[in-house]
Symmetry: C2
Subunit: 262 residues, 2 copies
DNA sequence: ACGACTTTGTGCAAACGTTCACAAGGGCGT
DNA sequence: ACGCCCTTGTGAACGTTTGCACAAAGTCGT
């Protein structure tokens, strides 16, 4: 991840953590606008977005002073400002590579179009799928990646292929001029610097949940108390170095080696 | 998202950021094992996982001292240790609510089964879908959520429904005993404390990419005088040029077309 | 017009995360 | 057995993010 010099560019350098939350605020704001709510306080908006109100105010303060003290924020005005900051006042043509279940889900996802993302092309390499129609888009052959990218001036590519082809597809997208990639394939992509990659991994999220779920059962079996005691304890309680680290286990070789696919 | 009390449980308190990377390391380790590589250095593993090697070593050091100085890490042993830490040495039954494109993609996703996640039930409320077979699972009616959860001792639920039904489904899952939820619907879920929610939002990731892409072009054009001239406009929000003919134009349409039990 | 009340915007300190740099420790050749 | 070389594990410095608490700045009622 190439660090961006932030203030060296003339832009005030909005923290990455803030950027990641702006879309959440934006969605909450749209929901408010739908209900014809004209103004909103930081407390209300924070609650709708599921964050702390101080955090929300600090986040918004990075964009400028768009609130009115004693009143709150004008919903429509803030929608515009956040959209502009995120670059959503322009249309972003996007190519999606891979028209399996995931690619189809993406193509049908209303949240894209409503934020200015327009599907410029939907590609797949399976001849059985090429030519079929998905969400008003005719699936084109993956051989046309370069053409689709350059003819529409696409700068964002979505990879929804199996893991095995992801890097190859990525290379071609980058060569064709794509500089932002959203990767759903469970692999780490190698890209030249200057290309931005974000990863969405369905199974990683489950594994993180499993970790916490496991911990919960361990805790529950040792001390029966609901976990409300939020602020109770402080730092680590000594060194439990390794709770169950019996060395004797000869790493059971049942390592299921299975190619992960989408 | 609520802060996780990490060290409040009496366990060694592995940082959240580390937990989020363990699944990535695990995948890289599996790939190495597939190639019959017995040991790996922190440099190599870090490269495969796409992180800095110092970070990898520090992450692994939270689990214990499982490396050998001068040599590296034994791949199989480390696979076992990481799996155990993540709670993947046991099976996790999972219910998936919503059998649209996304639910189907999830059901067919090989990465779940290979990490110990077993689909206990796949539910939907659309009568046209109930009864059909998806990835060797017969889709059951959404009315049976409670039964599916309690009869299999499920503690992890996946919500792949449209936004409108997500909170309702969530409530029912929680009431039935689910304590970990993976949410794909673009809404902020309200859950009682003690329930762990993780969110995967397809459009948020794109918006973050758009921000960086925009910044890149702004920097390239080099003559943007920031946003001092902010007060002028008051654009309306209604019309976000949406040329594509996608169905849902409402700010927050669901992930898919079908509705799930309300 | 003015004071009471409300809410924003922000300085500050603590918590958290990352990176550097190097000592500790183990294998391997001789 | 010894010393060299390699890699781990970690203390310490640095940067980022969070949350508190409050002054600044506006509105509203009288």
């Amino acid at each position: 991840m190439p660090r961006r010099p932030a203030s060296a560019t003339g832009s005030p350098g909005i923290p990455e953590a803030t950027i990641a939350r702006l879309p959440v605020y934006l969605r909450a704001l749209y929901a408010l606008a739908d209900r014809s709510i004209a103004t909103v306080s930081s407390d209300e908006l924070a609650a709708a977005a599921g964050v702390n109100s101080a955090k929300l105010r600090k986040d918004l303060s990075h964009l400028g002073s768009y609130g009115t003290r004693g009143v709150g924020y004008d919903v429509e005005y803030l929608v515009y400002q956040v959209s502009r900051e995120l670059g959503l006042t322009q249309d972003w043509p996007v190519v999606i590579v891979g028209a399996g279940n995931l690619g189809r889900a993406l193509a049908n996802y209303g949240g894209f179009a409503s934020r200015g993302f327009r599907i410029a092309a939907l590609l797949d390499c399976d001849p059985a799928v090429v030519g079929t129609e998905i969400a008003q888009h005719t699936v084109r052959s993956a051989a046309e990646i370069e053409d689709a990218v350059s003819s529409h001036g696409v700068s964002i590519g979505v990879i929804a292929t199996p893991a095995a082809s992801a890097q190859h597809v990525c290379d071609r997208l980058v060569a064709a001029g794509v500089t932002s990639i959203l990767n759903f394939a469970p692999v780490v992509l190698n890209v030249p610097s200057g290309v931005d990659v974000r990863k969405v991994d369905l199974s990683i999220e489950l594994q993180i949940l499993a970790f916490h779920a496991q911990r919960r059962t361990v805790v529950a079996s040792s001390s029966e108390q609901s976990w409300q005691a939020r602020r109770a304890r402080r730092k680590t309680i000594g060194e439990f170095a390794d709770s169950g680290g019996a060395d004797g286990l000869d790493a059971d070789t049942g390592v299921e080696a299975q190619a992960v696919g989408t």
